[in-house]
């Protein structure tokens, strides 16, 4: 099966994404040499997930005032978080799905099951959430958000991070 990348996109948006030119220095390659069954895996979602009892939501009010701006901050989501603690702030998708089951975007239960069955070594204690609508160039993501998350992943000795778009 070949995935149709534009199946759920409004037709008028298609050229914007199909013709976009993303400047990259070269292909990224990071060999994965550890057996998967011994590896620590984390996951990051761009669905704007946050913990409603202890974290601020992503700043939607500023985005409403400045439509080309998107909140570049991040949130850490613990692996065993209960669904009753989950909220989401994202103006470009219907967040009701993730508010009912965080696993649609951040598959913590699924990865815990893979851990229990020995497919992966361990699901990381902390996983991550960002809000995926960002200003052109993603300057803060590059200078601050990315390095901060990478430092925490290294501190927890995470071997691989699944980047999950929303």
């Amino acid at each position: 099966m070949s995935v149709d990348s534009f199946k759920y996109l409004p037709k008028s948006f298609r050229p914007m994404f199909e013709d976009v030119d993303i400047e990259v220095e070269g292909a990224v390659w990071a060999p994965f040499e550890k057996p998967l069954s011994e590896a620590t895996i984390a996951v990051l979602s761009s669905a704007g997930i946050f913990l409603k009892d202890s974290q601020q939501g992503f700043d939607m009010e500023r985005e409403k005032r400045e439509p080309t701006w998107g909140d570049p901050s991040w949130r850490a989501i613990p692996r065993d978080v209960g669904q009753d603690r989950i909220d989401a702030a994202h103006l470009h998708i219907n967040t009701e799905h993730v508010k009912r089951d965080v696993g649609v975007a951040l598959p913590l239960r699924a990865l815990a099951a893979l851990e229990a069955d020995g497919v992966i070594g361990r699901l990381a204690a902390e996983n991550y959430s960002v809000m995926g609508y960002q200003e052109n160039g993603c300057a803060v993501w590059q200078s601050q958000t990315g390095p901060e998350i990478v430092n925490r992943l290294r501190h927890e000795a995470v071997d691989a991070l699944i980047l999950a778009p929303a």
Binding site: Y8, P67, H90, D101, I162, A164, P165, A166
Partner: protein, 98 residues
């Protein structure tokens, strides 16, 4: 969800799914589906032997496309789309009839 777009960033490993936005790992409360996607993602870590490896997952979204398309949309038009529409309308007004 949009692997053609993600591939432009030339990532090491890419798993494509043909799912509506906001639900990259599957349906609400469908742990089997979420697990299948998550497992395919982690298996790709071992399977991929070279940069820009892409695998498209053969799972059909179990809701008809029209319904799923409507279901992923935000309740209100996003600020950037609203601003763009306003710009288009303004340009049309300024251009005048004909």
């Amino acid at each position: 969800m949009m692997p053609d777009l993600a591939s432009k960033t030339r990532v090491s490993r890419l798993l494509g799914v043909e799912f509506p936005f906001g639900q990259a790992f599957g349906m609400i409360d469908d742990l089997d589906m979420q697990r299948e996607v998550a497992e395919a993602a982690v298996r790709l870590l071992e399977e991929a032997q070279e940069p820009e490896s892409r695998r498209d997952l053969d799972i059909e979204w179990p809701i008809d496309t029209k319904t799923a398309y409507r279901a992923w949309q935000p309740p209100e038009i996003s600020p950037i789309v609203a601003a763009s529409l306003e710009q288009i309308r303004k340009a049309r007004r300024e251009a005048g009839p004909g």
